[in-house]
């Protein structure tokens, strides 16, 4: 790769935008994150290890990361279906539904949490029907999943939608004229093209879910070893004025999330290359 600053781009502003990008990213992202790491250095390694491997904390990783992955997977499937319906078909109220998809972005998460809890508690609109079936949602790990699915939904829909819109129906028609079944067309023509975007949406929904606090805290029940999310462990440390302990857990969360996102991004790049599309 030749240095891009040397090549003569027709567009102006390379130095300005790069300088701005670096300064802005440092100020908003890198410096605060560095501060998180620095704060943990006030602990010895043994102390750090004791904090981040405490049984309660480990149980919270399992819940937070497990439920976040599951919620992102659910969103990938149903977000794709939603985007599909919105792009491919026209029906009354389509514009309205399209706007509704973004609601989880705009709503304060605490409001979402309280509303979901009210719905799924045993005397709630939905909960009263689930409870007799032996399905408890509110105040159980399942409640965490519901909240995380709610907040992650727009990510998948909004990343897949534009790709679907750009998709030429001619490709599908060609496949059909060659005798492919509908399912085959979806599986071999459409899905490979959508996959990179779908993975991006999955990654975004996952990342959002891991850090989510506001909505989950109301519906989780917060029982140690069962339904405590990792962000709650951080909050309880802060309540005890234990900055270093709180940042230690934050560091673990950051690293785990970073590795997972890296894997997902790698997967996405790989599928993009394989299907011959660089998004």
């Amino acid at each position: 790769m030749s240095a891009p600053s040397r090549s003569f781009s027709v567009l102006p502003g390379f130095r300005l935008t790069l300088g701005y990008t670096l300064a802005y990213l440092s100020l908003i992202v890198l410096v605060p994150l560095a501060a998180v790491f620095l704060k943990t250095f006030t602990l010895t390694f043994d102390q750090f290890w004791a904090v981040v491997t405490a049984p309660r904390v480990v149980a919270s990783y399992k819940l937070s990361f497990g439920m976040s992955l599951l919620a992102a997977a659910i969103n990938a499937v149903f977000g794709l279906m939603l985007a599909w319906a919105l792009v491919r078909y026209s029906f009354p109220g389509k514009k309205l539904i399209d706007a509704l998809v973004d609601l989880p972005f705009a709503l304060p998460t605490a409001v979402a949490g309280i509303a979901l809890t009210a719905l799924y508690a045993k005397n709630g609109w939905i909960g009263q029907f689930l409870e007799p079936l032996g399905i408890q949602v509110a105040f159980k790990p399942l409640g965490v999943l519901v909240a995380l699915v709610f907040i992650g939904l727009p990510f998948v829909v909004r990343t897949v939608q534009p790709i679907l819109e750009d998709l030429d129906t001619e490709l599908e028609e060609a496949a059909a004229s060659l005798g492919a079944y509908r399912w085959q067309i979806f599986r071999y023509v459409i899905l490979p093209i959508l996959l990179p975007a779908l993975l991006t949406g999955f990654a975004l929904a996952f990342a959002r879910a891991v850090g989510e606090y506001g909505s989950v805290i109301f519906i989780a029940g917060n029982i140690p070893m069962v339904s405590e999310i990792t962000p709650l462990m951080i909050i309880t440390k802060l309540e005890q004025y234990d900055y270093a302990g709180a940042t230690a857990i934050a560091v673990v969360m950051l690293l785990l999330s970073f590795v997972l996102l890296l894997v997902i991004n790698g997967l996405q790049a790989w599928t993009a290359k394989r299907t011959g599309r660089s998004r």
Binding site: A54, A118, A121, G124, F139, K237, L238, Y241
Partner: protein
Amino acid sequence: MPHANRVSRLLRGLLAASLLSLGAGASAAEISILNVSYDVSRELYKEINPVFAAQWKAKTGDTVTVNQSHGGSSKQALSVAAGLEADVVTMNQSPDIDILVERGNLVAADWRKRFPHDATPYTTTSVFLVRKGNPKGIKDWSDLTRAGLQVIVPNPKTSGNGRYTYLAAWGYALDKTGSEAGARDFVAKLFANVPVLDGGGRGATTTFTQRDVGDVLVTFENEAILIAQELGGDKFDVIYPSLSIDASAPVAVVQKVADKRGTAKVAEGYLNFLFSPEGQEVIAKQNFRPRDPAVLKKHAKQFPPIRTFSVDEKLGGWSAVQKTHFADGGIFDQIVVNR
């Protein structure tokens, strides 16, 4: 140019007028102070502030506006330690003020001695709220450990209210069994009956009253009375256990901030007002137990006598309690991890 002249004369007049009004302001100042407090004291201080402002104006001629900031007690203390410019802090447990002595020397080390009753203008205690008619027959702490009973308590790790509940149960069991091991066993049994740990007192209230979860809610007396009043006495009963904890709410002037902002006198006057008969009257109306015996007597119907113990006299003070019970790996953690 006569026109321009007229304009400049007008401007000069305006300037003079505004200078005059500034001068007038100097003799009767407008002061604002910030009271950083915990969650459920919001209604209390909303009532206190106008009464205090009126009294202060009559006394000094100054107009005082008291701004309020509410949130979880410890979180509020952290904000003040991190630079939120509070003139006074009014918390629900003394560690939240001690931290301001430790961090940045914001509060004078002898803050407990600066006001009467160890700087606690009122107190409350942990009581039980049960569903109307008390279907499970809950009378005392020992009932809360019965198998199959659901107890709603806020999280002791994130809520002062929850911490008091835990300690009240501990103190009761200590009396009953006479040993630390017995107390530990008792509290472990109680917390095994807790299906939901809300972040704060209000969350627990919602879970119990709105979501219909649990047989009994353990919370502060003022919150229990408020629920019984607000949500209808036909739905809930307040039960007083045989022994509970003395939860006194401590207050302090954030000296460093008040000195810098020149509000030390008002801040002190504000906190002193809490101990005055007028202040105590508002406190009683908001369901907190007033310190003034005369005011307490007047509201005796609202506050049935209850035997209480304090953290200092029975449990060796807050810093010891914090270390043995609520620190990471402390007794509370051991209990809930192995339940």
